[in-house]
């Protein structure tokens, strides 16, 4: 934790507000900041719809606040860097985005997020009589064995979950239906990452962990939580094999199964590396006869300047495909 990471910022204590201003502006009018709060909300919200509220700690840009828009989140409640948003922020976001048909809370499964969103949900139900449902993304197969899947963290699978739930919230009439579809998406998601170098929190200026010059960590979480194993740096094919073995052990895929595949940049990794990994992943999937319906290689959930990537697989059926493929335009994701 020697060298302070070199970043081009203003006052590090203001990174979240300044970033949210910049993010709202980057959405070309489709999204705005709510009353100077740490909340982004669609400007084109229909009068009546099931509401999808997403959110979590900042520092993982473009998630969460980059995925607000049509067929994605209706609003995002944003916390400080690596810290869940407070119940106040969540409630304010929920109240502003609510359109009379109840709200689905969709976020990554972390103790801090769970507690803050739960507090907000309790208050919204008790004090405002709003129907709130919660779906937590727990796609990180490295975080816990299958029998404790509820303990798994949410990582890049969040994005596909948001995209599917966002589509459902746009088209479906009831909160029940949106919840069912979101739950199916999350149940079909598996991810795992590898870290090559650490990220840091602007306000502390400290790297969140340390890896030796020749070391990588397979299965590391989105805040530097420990993974499955620290090991010597290995080839792209080898790392892809390790990650895919673990994912496919957890969710076997066979001939004719269809999936969406995401290779996500944790921050500072080159797209060259990710594309080389994609090549290997596709060899593995082709050997099984698994069909890749859709691929997303890019930067979706980062951990500041962490180097490394994650692989996400979502098993598809016609319903999930339909919602995943609906058009979207936002800083985080655009679909044709």
């Amino acid at each position: 934790m020697a060298k302070v990471p070199k970043k081009i910022l203003n006052d590090p204590r203001n990174v979240v507000t300044e970033m949210l201003d910049g993010l709202a502006l980057a959405n070309d009018g489709r999204v705005e900041r709510l009353d100077g709060k740490d909340i982004l909300i669609r400007t084109d919200l229909p009068d009546s719809k099931v509401t999808l509220l997403i959110g979590g700690g900042s520092g993982h840009e473009p998630i969460f606040h980059g995925f607000v828009g049509q067929n994605m989140g209706d609003a995002a409640a944003c916390g400080q860097v690596f810290a869940a948003p407070s119940p106040d922020t969540i409630m304010d976001a929920a109240m502003a985005a609510h359109r009379g048909k109840g709200i689905l809370f969709l976020y990554g499964n972390y103790a801090g997020d769970n507690m803050n969103f739960d507090i907000a949900a309790e208050l919204l139900e008790e004090e405002e009589g709003i129907d709130v449902r919660t779906v937590r993304v727990n796609d990180d197969v490295a975080a816990a064995p299958p029998e404790r899947a509820d303990d798994r963290r949410g990582i890049a699978g969040d994005i596909y979950a948001i995209k599917v739930a966002g589509g459902a919230a746009e088209e479906c009439d009831t909160l029940d239906e949106v919840e069912r579809i979101a739950r199916k998406a999350v149940g079909n998601l598996r991810s795992m990452g590898v870290a090559v170098a650490a990220g840091s929190i602007p306000e502390t200026g400290k790297l969140t962990f340390e890896l030796a010059d020749d070391e990588i960590e397979i299965g590391m979480g989105a805040h530097g939580e420990a993974g499955i194993a620290k090991q010597k740096i290995a080839s792209a094919d080898d790392v892809a094999d390790q990650i895919m073995e673990k994912i496919l052990d957890d969710m076997p895929l066979g001939k004719g199964d269809e999936i969406a595949l995401m290779i996500n940049n944790l921050g500072a990794t080159t797209m060259m590396e990710m594309l080389i990994v994609n090549r290997r992943v596709r060899q593995i999937l082709a050997d099984r006869g698994t069909i890749v319906h859709r691929t997303d290689v890019g930067t979706f959930l980062t951990v500041q300047e962490m180097a490394g990537f994650s692989i996400t697989v979502m098993k598809l059926d016609d319903e999930l495909k339909h919602y995943l493929d609906l058009p979207a335009r936002s800083v985080g994701l655009s679909n044709m």
Binding site: Q80, E203, T208
Partner: protein
């Protein structure tokens, strides 16, 4: 002394806030060892907000409640929820009270301990701040004294024992969970915060 007036309670909670803020680096480093390194800056945000609401004229109950609400709305993360709950959850112990005395404080700690354990969904042993709050509450309960300095001293001692006890634990919640065996040897940052909070109460009482 045997009791604190409402304005003394406000002053004490201001001292508590300043003590936490002064320890930001200690908490950062503790959270870097087992979590994501934001516990210090999160607590600073929360207690800076507490300082803004801790103004003269608050009742004892409101002083604790407003502290809790400020923390809950500004800290974020796990700490915001559990430390917000810590201050709010036991505040009813001071309902209608003009002063803080040993019995009410013992009641506050016991209620708070219950509230945070419920909110976090964890018992002792999960390597969280609950491991400091629970022994602190027990130590206060066991301290058959009505002297506040003695009570706060017992509370801090209980918390510090909890900090020690948290070292060999394997985290089963929070960001430290997946550290698994690697979390062994490091104290829980939230537990350290509890000991700082209770220690600052003791120092305040000692200064009177």
């Amino acid at each position: 002394m045997k009791e604190l007036t409402d304005s003394q309670v406000v002053e004490m909670l201001r001292q508590v806030s300043k003590a936490v803020i002064a320890n930001v680096d200690v908490l950062t480093d503790a959270d870097l060892a087992t979590g994501d390194g934001d516990h210090g800056i999160g607590m600073r945000r929360g207690f800076e907000a507490a300082l803004e609401v801790l103004v003269p004229g608050l009742s004892v109950q409101d002083a604790f409640k407003k502290t809790g609400m400020a923390i809950m709305s500004k800290t974020g993360g796990a700490a915001g929820a559990v430390f917000g709950t810590f201050f709010r959850g036991g505040a009813s112990a001071f309902a209608d009270a003009q002063t803080l005395d040993a019995a009410r404080f013992a009641n506050f700690l016991a209620l708070s301990a219950q509230a945070v354990s419920k909110r976090g969904g964890v018992e002792e042993g999960a390597k969280t701040m609950v491991d400091a709050v629970m022994p602190a509450a027990r130590a206060v309960g066991a301290e058959a004294s009505d002297d506040l300095l003695a009570v706060f001293t017992a509370a801090e001692r209980g918390a510090l024992e909890g900090v020690e006890a948290s070292k060999p634990m394997i985290a089963t919640t929070g960001k430290a969970r997946s550290l698994g065996e690697r979390s062994i040897g490091h104290p829980d940052p939230g537990a350290i915060s509890v000991s700082i909070i209770l220690g600052a109460m003791k120092s305040y009482a000692a200064s009177l």
